[in-house]
């Protein structure tokens, strides 16, 4: 047992945007801190550091999550995707393209979290996951504007770009459907 003042470190492995990293981390470090401070991936933002704003949203094993609430040591072995990993080389992802085309940001601080959140959210819809505004829990949800607003409520935007964000998510969802058709 530690004496409450000496930092404790642990060896972990993370795959981040397809690249494996062997790291020695302070047990107190969040995934967000490791991504930003150790790996220099500063796309993920520290907004509130309490899980309330969503600026730190990343994908952990394919699921969107708050990087600020996830202890790095508890995610040893995880596959992480950050905003830096959404594009394929110079080819922006559908949701990234839609954010530009729909004017879905102003200052851009919340945008990396919005992009990762929307990416994870569209996958949740494709899996048939309901939301609290889904009328019929027995059927697969249809992604209307109310559904988008509810599902994106974990990402705050102080510039108030929400109208553009809803439009961008809708466009990306339609692009995705078209690609699958």
């Amino acid at each position: 047992m530690n004496n409450a003042t000496t930092p404790v470190h642990a060896d972990i492995t993370l795959v981040v945007n397809g690249q494996e990293h062997r790291l020695n981390v302070d047990t107190r470090a969040s995934l967000l801190d490791v991504l930003r401070e150790t790996l220099g991936l500063t796309g993920s933002k520290k907004g509130c550091d309490h899980g309330q704003c969503g600026a730190c949203t990343i994908l952990i094993d394919g699921r969107r999550a708050n990087g600020c609430l996830a202890l790095a040591v508890a995610h040893d072995g995880a596959d992480i995707v950050t905003v830096e990993g959404l594009a394929q080389g110079d080819q922006l992802s559908p949701i990234q393209r839609a954010f530009i085309e729909q004017d879905a940001f102003q200052c851009g601080y919340c945008t990396p979290g919005q992009l990762c959140s929307a990416t994870g959210m569209l996958d949740e819809v494709a899996r048939g996951w309901p939301s609290v505004v889904t009328d019929d829990l027995g059927s697969d949800p249809v992604l209307n504007d109310d559904e988008i607003r509810e599902r994106m409520s974990g990402n705050l935007c102080r510039c108030g770009a929400y109208v553009g964000i809803v439009a961008a998510v809708k466009q990306a969802a339609q692009d995705r459907e078209a690609a699958e058709a």
Binding site: M1, N2, R28, G51, R64, L71, A74, D76, P130, R151
Partner: protein, 325 residues
Amino acid sequence: MRPFTYERATSAEDALARHDHETYYLGGGTNLVDLMRLGVETPARLVDVAHLPYDQIQLTPDGGLVIGAAVSNSALAADRAVREGQPMLAQAVLAGASGQIRNLATVGGNLLQRTRCSYFQDAAKPCNKRNPGSGCPAREGEHHNLAILGHSTACVATHPSDMAVALAALNASVRVRNRAGERTIPMDEFHRLPGAEPERDTVLEPGDLVTAVEVPPLGMPSRYRKVRERASFAFALVSIAAALDVDDGVVRDVRVALGGVAHKPWRARRAEAVLRGSAATRESFLRAAEAELEAAAPLRDNAYKVPLARNLIVRTLTELVEGTA
């Protein structure tokens, strides 16, 4: 944050063996990590139980469920059997937190999350729950979102879980392991009223490990409704989990539990008693709601919760009768 050692438990026995008085079990961490960052919780050791083989939802032969404690909130809400058999449970989970948090959060952790009373979460302030005997500033201070039922002079906090409210209405039980063996605790007895010991949220003893939640079959329409200060991603001012079985215009069976009103999910047994055998009408629902809320003792700034709870009971039961829920 106080430094701590981290250990990943390999089995329930392993987790129990590693536990001592400075140990916390770690699930998804969405509440615990935040409380550690705030200095409210200061464990010297975390034993990670999120990887134990309690990540399945099993159907029982009678149509009930056994939900593993490590099942994520997202997986629970997405489960087809839950959505069809106990829709109020799926709705309650989906009414809580955000998509990101639900992906991390576990069922066990959801039950054991702490109050969001602002004094509890501020380590610089007195709080009988965080620091027994230090006093309760909420009683005279900021309490518009705190308890109207079952509170004590020591504590007026509310339990923040939506899921637990639905589980209370479902007559669920919590499966718990310790070094002596396994036991189940009825959901309605799992969380405590504060009394003189507000530091104890539940009846669990040190080292107890929640492994599953058992949910009996419901067999009647149900619904979860939540009133909050914004449309999404906010804790309940008042919420309700309700189920109603009506036969020829008469209430045959009913379940009502309220959230956001007490230190525990508030099973509205007085309302249920009034309703059983009564006509399934708005008048009966109103009478039942008023019978339940006779015991309400609102604070200076939260008396609005009494009519809010009353209206929520009446409206939700009415919707269930009309089949619009």
